[in-house]
Symmetry: C2
Amino acid sequence: MVSSKDVAKGAGVSQPTVSRVLNKPDSVKPETREKVLRTMQTLGYKPNLIARSLITNNTKTIALISGPVCNEFFAESIDSIVRKADEYGYKIIVYFDEEENLDDILKSVSGFNVDGILMSSITLEESQLEKIKALNTPYMFFARRSKLKSNSVTLDDKRASVMLTNHLIDLGHEKIAMITGESDRSTFLERRQGFDKAINAAGVDIPDSYYIKIKDSSRKEVGEAVKKLIQLYEPPTAVLCASDAIAISAIDVLLSMNLRVPEDISICGFDNVGLSSHRAIQLTSIGYDGGHIGEIAVQHLIKQMNRKERALEDQDYKILSPKLFIRKTTKEINSY
Amino acid sequence: MVSSKDVAKGAGVSQPTVSRVLNKPDSVKPETREKVLRTMQTLGYKPNLIARSLITNNTKTIALISGPVCNEFFAESIDSIVRKADEYGYKIIVYFDEEENLDDILKSVSGFNVDGILMSSITLEESQLEKIKALNTPYMFFARRSKLKSNSVTLDDKRASVMLTNHLIDLGHEKIAMITGESDRSTFLERRQGFDKAINAAGVDIPDSYYIKIKDSSRKEVGEAVKKLIQLYEPPTAVLCASDAIAISAIDVLLSMNLRVPEDISICGFDNVGLSSHRAIQLTSIGYDGGHIGEIAVQHLIKQMNRKERALEDQDYKILSPKLFIRKTTKEINSY
DNA sequence: CTGTTAGCGCCTTCAG
DNA sequence: CTGAAGGCGCTAACAG
């Protein structure tokens, strides 16, 4: 391991001069700079970022605490986040938050002195937000947010849900079911609220059996939910799925049951994931039409990190307007 | 930032004792240990992993240099890698290798002193392998490998391709095309070789126009490839796609052209990605049937890192047996 | 413009 | 079993 000291010796200068060549090149006489650079080259010197971090107290590293990648939304977010962060010279450490291990993750994150935290798996619980804030590290939630005001980039989920539900109502549906996730996630809560709002505004009556809550968007969970709905005395004619991941699994299950989408039942989802525009799927979905949410979150986070004053005001609260993509999984109720 | 020195002062012991409580608890008298642990608690002490790394020279961090996540295979590999690494207490830093920026990535990787490297985007070129080896860091390639013997976990791509091609031949196809990627990747090269081998063995003749090489598995690239094939005077009756990502895009394009899969044309791919078993896709594919390749690579890498002797022998060369999953996108040639 | 000195937070001898 | 001293590789003052 060749160190800056070795370079210094080789170039016949002091070690701090080597350091300066790297950090403030202008403050070094061109000739010595060249000499130092040359010996760096010949010795194959690579600055030790760890040692630098110990002093500067920044690691050029961002922790991403993500939902599972089997949900394409999160896959897309990892992709856009890594790329965008790279543009700014930041590395991404990935964690998957599941099974209540947030504490472990935060322990790792804080010991490692990441410069910022990006998190999609935040719940509404105040205690989670407090744990994050306790780290005293710039953070930004994306896709989901906490109950209390905090830094986040989210879709206007309630409005999105109203729009999507209205789309179904406009198609003549009245027997509309909803498959959603735990209501401790802002997405699921607000998508449910928007659904109720639109349903009430339309004066439609929805039985309790039309609301199904699932633990994750696995085929198994979604399968059970779909079966419950189909086996009802009056099955729904349309299902609002609280994410595209759920919707795509639902389509899988329905097709396996020899039901047709949308002829037998309309399906739609949220997030406008890449796959939803695949010709074999053509899922009606609602999402943000612009850079990926994760990418936007990176930009906000970095802006926040650059504000030297560690105000950490928790006021960077951005809500994106949804756009509806009507495709082929939703259809008028009377036309068959 | 509360340091071990602060804890020491608070507990009335020396700083190294605090350190020992963390690293060799048995070497500290239970009473003092308790006292130290208690003051750690009250002061909210978190050990600084950066400082520790500077001495121990390990970061408990693995760099993952991955292909793009829009290819579900890589999405699945990130998922399995992060989870498996976490089991062993390792963090994953994600890089996406594209556009010739491997040098930049390696610069970052080496400066950061990661403990190991996991890479799927390796090309056959010797120079790439040399660059990796020059870092003198344990590494493991997965999915793809270098030309020279090196540490890797791969599918037996050639054999897989023979099996898949034979499946098409068994169905009566003779006009079989192949859409593949750059032949500087071992996967694409060997899948091509296996294809040729099976074709020759069957005594079938394939025109050059049936071989199409694309730059990536984007809809655009695949779209152009598919159109070229369809517009031929004698279009193929089956297409072997060198990855499921390509196959799924191909299906998308074909359906958009109002062609039916498999009635008009059979399609199959490699990797047996999750989506291929979706009822709306049902892609015939060949892949490894067992833990994900990425996960296996993690285990090998960690084993290698634990071998204290930095032999770095480049002999951990594992080849997995493929398994064929026949689904609904391939069909006998004569049955329509 | 450059060298000297000090120290980031921790672990590792080595005494005792 | 514990403390004192030294240093990992680097940056941050301060002189000169």
